[in-house]
């Protein structure tokens, strides 16, 4: 099966943008991730087994694209994350603080946190998506939570 590209774009563009942002911390670069991911989907000739497979494939491509951009040494900040945040209509100051704290995390932690808390991925699914073993994912998740807790204090719970 292969879903119509326009429908896939509509469903996933914001989520892939958020994934790009969580890795790259730069809205311009995250936009490139969205563009390149959907272009690859549009020109991809093979069929997918299910909607879940499409999602997993898109996220994998997006993460790889983001890593490619991250590796380019000429990459530089087009728009600062602070400038970008000024355009987001956060509902509460706590929302803004949390977003800022995630953007301040090293990428290897923020992508794990994002997949877990935003995409509701399990440890196993994150390990498969990022080609890590489950132990590594647990360590990164734990360290990321610790860093968020240090930053957000009572606004970040000690739950799992």
């Amino acid at each position: 099966m292969k879903l119509d590209t326009e429908k896939v774009i509509e469903k996933y563009k914001d989520r892939i943008f958020a994934i790009g942002l969580s890795i790259l911390k730069d809205p311009d670069d995250a936009e490139d991730v969205v563009q390149e991911t959907f272009l690859k989907y549009h020109t991809y000739k093979k069929d997918f087994e299910s909607k879940e497979h499409i999602q997993s494939w898109l996220y994998k491509v997006a993460i790889n694209k983001a890593k490619d951009i991250q590796r380019k040494f000429w990459r530089r900040k087009q728009v600062s994350i602070e400038d970008y945040m000024a355009t987001i209509p956060f509902d509460t100051p706590q929302d803004e603080e949390l977003f800022q704290a995630v953007m301040a995390l090293p990428s290897k932690y923020s992508i794990v946190i994002h997949l877990y808390y935003y995409e509701d991925y399990s440890i196993k699914e994150i390990a498969q998506q990022l080609k890590l073993n489950e132990g590594n994912v647990k360590v990164r998740l734990s360290r990321a939570r610790q860093l968020l807790k240090e930053q957000l204090k009572e606004n970040w719970n000690d739950e799992e």
Binding site: D14, S56, W57, K60, R71, I88, E96
Partner: protein, 210 residues
Amino acid sequence: MKNKEAYKQAFKHVHYQKEVNLNKKRISKPLVTIMTSFIVLLSTFTVAYAFDVGGIQSKLEVWFRGEKRKVQYKEEDKNAYHFYTTDEDGNVVDMGINMGFKGSLTGIEPMSGDELAESMNDDSEIVYDEKEDKYLFYYQNKVVDITHMFDKEKECYLVINNGEKDIYFVISYKDKIDEDSTISQYSDENAEVIQGVKVKDIKDHFVRIK
């Protein structure tokens, strides 16, 4: 509010605002042409001299894609080091952030940048070669085309001697090698590959790479 709810609320106004252009591969950055020239120049520079990302130049060389490479690292966070090296063209490659701990007489203590660099010599990696349409497995100086080495269970078994001992690798995937593969690595023949099945029980499965 639960963390998940709080997280989703913080990200709910993050939207992709532009049109997705499906007609052609765009060049989004106006500086790409200039910067590409710059890359070539810097590559030449990098080949001739040690690269510099403003970090600490490790005295150690680390296996990267089949070759020993010089690495540099910067301490990004307490005990977390960001590693860089160069590819075959001299371009700087981000190797990611690494942190680790070691046991000592006084308990557990964080590993230094050089210790982490040394430990990275035991890392393995799968890279998809788009030009050749094949999957390459890298471990130290070994490069193995594993594209057609998977069995019906979508598992590939390799054993490589690293000069000191045999290292056993079980590579598996669910749907596509480049999407969801995992590498399990064992240096002890008594290690369990799956519950109740030890490396030594299935040694014949492993293909020795010379």
